[in-house]
Subunit: 773 residues, 2 copies
């Protein structure tokens, strides 16, 4: 754990040059706009620790997998969103000395991410080996207004001495991934052009054939005068413009660089170049200051809907805003072909591909903080992959329309390559079904089920019905050979969570069919006919629901994570030496697998999803049994535990988990922020406040709150959109204040008392009314 | 399954040119001498299907592993014995046409492996595009007399037309492995020389730095006259001599090529070249005919001790000789640094490294067919790796001298890279301990235990004692997260075989300590002191032995392969459609894992090793339960089943398994002979006859037989060396005939009746005395 980020409610600040943390900061200070983004690499050369990265959503390469011993059903490739053309780079030579912060004396350094405005700032004070002193100031943004554009300004000021400067600023397409299984490069050049007016590069990904066209125009101003371009560099995969000029002490010059990045996914190949030219012109015409103003206005709109204010705890305030900021930098939801990579545009790990994180963690965030179409698009993403999910299941031997959605995907095909995950961590199918239920529960949008949802549910239900088998020995249905959410167990039998979510899927799909039988029989008949559904299937589902085996310890009143869990040595994490943690860095995989230690919520994930089916004592017993053995080495673990802890009245524990999840990256809690940020877990942080501290639940079409105020906080407030209402909820020492600025009246249940929240109405309920959990 | 090899008692014959089977034949016709060997590649160019391969024992490369997601404890590399300098190759150009059997008309073709003499023959009749007809005859051997030498003759005869011939015969060191994880080449050139007298190449393996020096001298004779070398070719990694000459119709010319292959493992680097020169001279001086005679004499000695004669079944006769021949081509046992790769020198698969196959299958063969030092050397191989095994266990978190021998190794370090095998298939430790017991049981050589064996047993016992854990729920010791011999299950709990062999190891080690306490207390004290052994350890072992949990189905009277086995759908293999087999080629890994199907003996492996602990009914019940679910997709499966079937009086089943194991490669039963031969399972074939049909067992220092005669056979006979006796056992329709040509009297138990077999004595027991199993 580290603690070097300066605390501030709206800014992320690094106030010293810390070369050893540079890759961590590159992750933390990442910027993006949902369509593209990049790590906070320096513009100028840097020979120190650095992971260069600029990414464009949806542009991926199917890297050949690395597998020791191939087995049937293994995917052929691991798709990864790849590092693409570097548009920020420049070479700055002053008096013959190349500027490289690893090679010069850095006197002053500040990196600052203005989350309110969506702009990255950097100021550096440098002394060169010849005594020349410079001050560099840069600003950078990925526009949230026009998502194919980005811009930066780079100011050089001479503090002392005279500087003969050669500045070469360009586009570099000769880039590679650090994560390349066979050290291959993934791009071919298609076209380039370079002259005094502009530079451009068009590259195409190998195999997948995505064209990415990057076009830049730039301007260097000194003393109010443009400095003309000197030499133009134009070679394979690299184009640049050079400027040569001299600055005396006290003088400054500023480069403004405007870039547009267009892909063949959004434009026809023939139009790509022309579109880029037009768009770039309009961006450059605005100029940098106007772009920054537009950016701030764009972010203000996002913050209006999604901000959470925390008073009395600046670390907590900064953290939650950082989480929300990064989520909206990663995914804005306009494009239903896109999804949320676990690291967004902040690193290479997990390849920018889609995991069940989206359904389990991100959908609740987007449902509540923006218009319902966004969450709907995330659901449609899976709907579009249904056919591939059926093919994926068929590869494993399933039939008759059974669908297994991939563990890891970008185009609907499975691309993870560990059998224990790909073939066995099938609970993802449950989360995908649950997200449909969750969306309908939240939005009331039953039409989604009719249009898309039921087809997905059918495929999933059919999978579960084939995946279980009847045990003659138990006279119940069992599910063998699975990996639950706790990936510190592999290939177990009867993972309670998986059995439970499978039965839930079968039950829910049956119920949806029953509902439609009365509400929309024609559509139902069409869907069932298309799917060649026979009534016997539903009967089988009901038989499975009624006869599913659930491992449990009846005596202790707990559900067993899997068969045989009680054969393990059950020693609480608190008794492990600190030096042995995190286990995934200190222990062999063998030892982890055999131990009782739990990576992330497993039984508790089920009790979280399906809490309405369980009484509080059951939840408490299971929490008290499993949490002490949980090492939370998945970023997705603390949030679920925080929510359950809050529900159980364990406020200190909930707050501890909140800090852990919200500052996971800012404080580099797991020693892995250098790989990129834990984007999807950031939605879990939001859930910690809204579902945890505020206790938000949706039941019977009404929103419920059971809020608690963490001791350290004076107040917190957040906003949710709910069925046309726009609710601002604030909890302070007095009580709860709710304000509905939407155009719909809704019912709000506060501490079990129902209130009508009229459009534009307000409500104040004193804290004294609290009903204890 | 294929059936193209001509049946013959001493020859393996392919009587037609079958390009589609060429890689299979290249495996089947492989030759070697225990020190080195090669696939039956053609001498001349061949552009058809072919896997080129020449291997030198112990010369390996640590290829970087391919792992999708690295985890702690994974090995860094996969060692593989690599393809090395090709000494047989030549380019033959006739009237400007390059001879390539894939490009010319092949009129006649025969490949013939003379197992009696250890010589590979090939004759080919060819018509070139210009009408010229040629007959090519080649002979090739790897000397079993001087194991660093090899030789070939290559005769070209013109049948019709006039042939202007350019023959270039050389040494090619620019070779690569088909199995190279990152398409790297593994060799650097160190030195080469080439002139009219000789050619030589010295290559060094990258990383491991083994030098292999290959030196060739050759002679082309036409009409009794040597043809002088024309041009000498000398370039990076390639040296050759050219001959230009003309043959008229009816004329012939013969190239004799002599090679010596020396490595830095056996000679100092400084001496390598000089040694090669001297050795080559002596080999070439003999000339090819003398070398062939010596070779036949060398093989005659091997056959004298190890041959099995079967009368009345030429397919069975050919098969058992093929198995024995290939075993002795792979391993002769003089060098305790060497071991037996699963494919010997016949292919790249499994990398020529050591598996538990050696202990479980090969040691019994070598113990009985040659002097005891050979089996002893195989045991010493593991003893030499003890320290590495302790380090290997430490990597996984074990301590205090616990040793886990690798699943796959060449130098004592683990080099497999699937966690479910490397970390979990730990029963190999049991087989290594059992082999010590088995060796002592067979030879009576207790000194081995004192000198080496006990130290290995201590390390293994300590491993098991740490690997089990006490289950509070069961109030017994359990062993979680293992993979048994049946690799169609991974990461199971309480694999019966592993629990059983672990307990057996603890018990045996305790007994050995107790025996030595009286017989050799000084040596015992020394060993225990060196190992920091404390008495409490043995007490703990005894507690484990007394309280080990064994999964069983008490009602059915069977041991369960693992916890939860009865939850599976239990459907016999006979009900699977033929089109779905072999499962490992037709089913996804997921489906295999969840199914009841068994790759190779698992519970039955335990009942085979420890049969003296179980009554016949128990063995029968378990065989009848498991065999019908066994797909025998490991080459190591049929032999154990054959032995048990024979014991249970299921003669037809035993014979079926015999054919399957003995002709596995000759008939390409598993569609994988092209990868190389299943060398280690060939020892299992031998066991099928000796332990299966002949029912040989060692009990109380005496050799027992319970022979049966397969219906199709008139007789079979084999020879074993046993404690100084040299027993020839023959079973025919009359009964058993035993002859002791050794210098020791021994007790032989035939159908439960004990007979004294005096040195040079004979014994005839009529078949009527049979006691039925």
């Amino acid at each position: 754990m580290k603690d070097y980020i300066v605390k501030d409610p709206w800014q992320i600040i690094e106030d010293q040059f810390r070369p050893e943390y540079n890759e961590i900061s590159e992750s933390i200070f990442s910027i993006g706009n949902g369509r593209m983004g990049q790590r906070a690499n320096f513009e100028e050369d840097y020979s120190g620790k650095s992971l260069s990265g600029s990414y464009v959503a949806g542009v991926y390469y199917p890297d050949k997998t690395r597998v020791g011993w191939w087995k049937n059903g293994y995917p052929e490739y691991f798709a990864k969103v790849i590092n693409s053309t570097n548009w920020i780079g420049l070479h700055l030579t002053v008096n013959g000395i190349l500027l490289d912060l690893a090679q010069v004396t850095v006197k002053k350094f500040e990196r600052r991410l203005d989350m309110k405005a969506g702009v990255l700032h950097r100021t550096v004070g440098i002394t060169l080996s010849d005594g020349t002193q410079l001050a560099i100031t840069s600003r950078r943004l990925y526009s949230v207004v026009e998502s194919q554009s980005a811009a930066l300004s780079y100011q050089i000021r001479v503090v002392q001495g005279t500087a003969h400067i050669l500045l070469e600023s360009g586009l570099d397409g000769d880039i590679s991934n650090r994560d390349s299984n066979y050290d291959e490069k993934f791009w071919d050049e298609v076209a380039r052009s370079a002259n005094e007016e502009h530079i451009s590069l068009q590259l195409k990904t190998k195999k997948t054939g995505f064209d990415v066209h990057t076009r830049v125009t730039q301007q260097l101003v000194h003393d109010g005068q443009s400095i003309a371009v000197g030499e133009v560099i134009d070679r394979e995969k690299y184009v640049a413009q050079q400027y040569e000029f001299t600055l005396e002490s006290g003088q400054e010059a500023t480069l403004s660089k405007y870039a547009v990045i267009l892909t063949s996914e959004n434009h026809s190949l023939a139009d790509l170049s022309a579109h880029a030219e037009t768009l770039l012109q309009s961006v450059a015409d605005k100029g940098l200051e106007k772009l920054i103003n537009e950016q701030a206005a764009g972010w203000a709109k996002i913050w209006q809907d999604s901000d959470i204010q925390i008073e009395g705890d600046v670390a907590a305030q900064q953290a939650i805003r950082f989480n929300i900021f990064q989520l909206y930098q990663t995914y804005t939801g306009e494009d239903d072909r896109l999804n949320i990579g676990p690291k967004g545009f902040t690193g290479e790990k997990y390849g920018g591909v889609t995991y069940w994180d989206t359904e389990a963690y991100c959908i609740p965030f987007y449902m509540a903080t923006t218009k319902p179409e966004i969450a709907r698009n995330l659901l449609i993403y899976r709907y579009k992959h249904l056919q591939k999910a059926i093919e994926n299941a068929a590869k494993l031997g399933f039939k008759d329309g059974a669908a297994l959605f991939p563990m890891v995907t970008i185009n609907g095909e499975e691309c993870h390559n560990e059998w224990e995950i790909t073939f066995e961590e099938i609970h993802r199918n449950g989360a995908i079904a649950f997200a449909i239920y969750n969306y309908v529960r939240y939005t009331g949008d039953v039409s989604y089920l009719q249009e898309y949802g039921l087809e997905v549910l059918l495929g999933i239900a059919r999978f579960w019905a084939q995946r279980v088998n009847w045990s003659e020995a138990k006279q119940q249905y069992v599910m063998l050979g699975v990996t639950g959410p706790n990936e510190y167990e592999n290939n177990v039998n009867n993972n309670w969570y998986t059995n439970r979510i499978a039965a839930w899927c079968l039950q829910y799909t049956s119920e949806v069919i029953d509902q439609f039988a009365s509400s929309n029989p024609d559509r139902l008949q069409h869907i069932l006919h298309t799917a060649s559904f026979v009534t016997a299937e539903k009967e089988k589902w009901q038989h499975i629901v009624a006869n599913m085996y659930y491992p449990e310890d009846a005596e202790g009143g707990i559900y067993l994570q899997q068969d045989g869990f009680l054969d393990k040595e059950l020693i609480p994490v608190s008794e492990l030496p600190v030096s042995e943690r995190p286990l995934n860095q200190k222990w062999s995989w063998d030892r982890i697998l055999r131990s009782c230690y739990i990576k992330q919520a497993d039984v508790l994930q089920g009790l979280y999803f399906l809490e309405d089916h369980y009484d509080l004592d059951t939840i408490r017993r299971n929490y008290d049994f499993y949490e002490p053995m949980t090492v939370h080495e998945s970023s997705l673990s603390p949030c679920v535990h925080a929510i359950i802890a809050a529900k159980l009245g364990k406020e200190d524990k909930a707050y501890e988990f909140y800090l852990r999840t919200s500052r996971l990256d800012l404080d580099d809690y797991n020693n892995d922020t250098e790989d990129g940020l834990h984007i999807t877990s950031m939605a879990g942080t939001w859930m910690t406040i809204v579902e945890g501290f505020a206790g938000m639940r949706i039941r019977d079409g009404k929103v419920h709150f059971q809020p608690i105020l963490p001791t350290k906080w004076d107040s917190y407030s957040f906003r949710i959109t709910f069925r046309g209402a726009d609710l601002q909820i604030k909890l302070d020492h007095e009580g709860v204040h709710v304000n509905n600025s939407g155009n719909q009246d809704v019912q709000v249940v506060l501490w079990d008392t129902q209130y009508a929240m009229l459009s534009n109405g307000t409500l104040d309920v004193p804290y004294a009314v609290t009903s204890k959990a």
